[in-house]
Assembly symmetry: C2
Homo-oligomer: 338 residues x 2
Amino acid sequence: MLSERRLQVLRAIVQDYVGTEEPVGSKALTERHNLGVSPATVRNDMAALEDEGFIAQPHTSAGRIPTDKGYRLFVDKLAGVKPMTAPERRAIQNFLEGAVDLDDVVARTVRLLAQLTRQVAVVQYPSLTRSTVRHVELLSLAPARVMLVLITDTGRVEQRMVDCPAPFGEASLADLRARLNSRVAGRRFTDVPRLVEDLPDAFEPEDRGTVSTVLSTLLETLVEENEERLMIGGTANLTRFGHDFPLVIRPVLEALEEQVVLLKLLGEAKDPGVTVRIGHENAHEGLNSTSVVSVGYGSGGEAVAKLGVVGPTRMDYPGTMGAVRAVARYVGQILAES
Amino acid sequence: MLSERRLQVLRAIVQDYVGTEEPVGSKALTERHNLGVSPATVRNDMAALEDEGFIAQPHTSAGRIPTDKGYRLFVDKLAGVKPMTAPERRAIQNFLEGAVDLDDVVARTVRLLAQLTRQVAVVQYPSLTRSTVRHVELLSLAPARVMLVLITDTGRVEQRMVDCPAPFGEASLADLRARLNSRVAGRRFTDVPRLVEDLPDAFEPEDRGTVSTVLSTLLETLVEENEERLMIGGTANLTRFGHDFPLVIRPVLEALEEQVVLLKLLGEAKDPGVTVRIGHENAHEGLNSTSVVSVGYGSGGEAVAKLGVVGPTRMDYPGTMGAVRAVARYVGQILAES
DNA sequence: CCTGGCACTCTTCCCATGCGAGTGCCAGCA
DNA sequence: TGCTGGCACTCGCATGGGAAGAGTGCCAGG
């Protein structure tokens, strides 16, 4: 329906607009790209593209700017993912390799993404539900008080206090610790409930209450979704957003503080590859003038969490997608090594 | 040197300017505050205050606005700390009591502070160096790989991997765990180095290398200053900063991302009470147009960390100081209880 | 030492004007 | 049918000149 040239015109408009931040006119287009046709022809194409809803004019007789729909077409059909250069890849790897623990990995990833894309970076901590248990530790803090520490294969640590219904001896605790670990160590979180189901039966009646309490706390910890933490960075890049300032970035900052919103945002992306949500495609109203580029990352073949960037719809999609993909890949490697 | 009335004029200027965000003139002042004198008199006082550097005019013949020095005098001499009302105090307490773990306490504190003051809130995690050890846990992950988990009295958990110079048996590990805990549990971090000094001597020669390695990792963890994490929130409030947007908030956002800067900022405040740093009193350049109100908080009588807010120099100092102080007090209580 | 009055200084707002960029349409040409 | 050059038209934006208003500094008088 859209001729090849019209698609090229759209591509050129997107590229120019992303570069200059100014509405682009027919004359400027023909000067900067050799489309082989005259401005008049381009004007006709533009009129057609506008009828289809891919571009719009801010005012009568200013240049055209892409609409969300225009960006969508650009991302889907007209632009690939721009791969990182070799030096960039090396820099990413070097920077991430310096990390000392999980917090540091996440923190470095955020900084890296923010710098590479010059946008706001969001990195979700490796999700509990998809990881495996490395170790469960039980510490007796008081006769009827136990601290439960859960360590995951991605290096994440969760702790919980458990108030026991009855005093619980050191010997029983050691027993529980040993049995628990022999059953769940190395297993996926989703399998844990099944694996510990009958564990209380192995204990003396007077200890069963406590064992059950500990186990249910453990299970709670495993499913606790609101514990899906994330880290954001590069908010200073919001200042490069546009001219009509406060009105635009206010809701964005607010949305960024609502971890729930962000988690949902990242969670929505189900693709195996890089997912792009453009403008109004984002459910959250405050993000209607932003695009979100996200991707899953993980230590093995499987994604355990997501990361991405939030930026103006007017962004360099190929470059951003390339950076996001590359960072995700290297973070995965780092996690697998540690 | 400054007469009583002139101080009152300064106070009135600060209050009005904070309220209206606009330079305040002599006529408006006499209308809104009954100073008992005419605008002309106030003008003379203003001229004097300007000579002394407490106020300034943005342009010839606009009203006056307070300078950093003016705010300083206001904070030191002219305004007290506005205490929270009883309902506010109750709300603070209720909100904080819902927290389930340390992360949650900090997160809630940040949200609370940001909401109460309508500014950017910064909360430092309880510092390691001033807390006491609750428990040290050692987990064998591989024959020559140990995970060290440190649990503090404030509920904070730090973990480190230790690569041992030689394989280390389960029995030795249990031995080390027991000896270590019996020595350091309940002790202050600063005392730990002294307490574990001779610990390797109690082990077989072949294990001493590993024990030393583990201990030095523990000591590293204790002193590691860069691990002083903090959480910030309420950045959306920056949009209420002023009219000349990007130029002002850009450096602020950048400074907020530099944890080092923030930690230094909070660390500088040595007072037992609420500390206020106004405008250029902040060492960091990006924060020259902001004021920082901070205070220490802690579970006992002693401060284990700081919290505070960052806002425009034109802020409601008495109210902000009251909110910061109240929140710090209640967070301290919560930490002491858990 | 305070007060009212007065002249003066700027900023800000508003409007008219001109310019330029960009468009839409049309007639002509391949 | 599709491309091109030409041309009239539309707006947005920057420019400049008043006019208004707020606020000041200073002075003479109480």
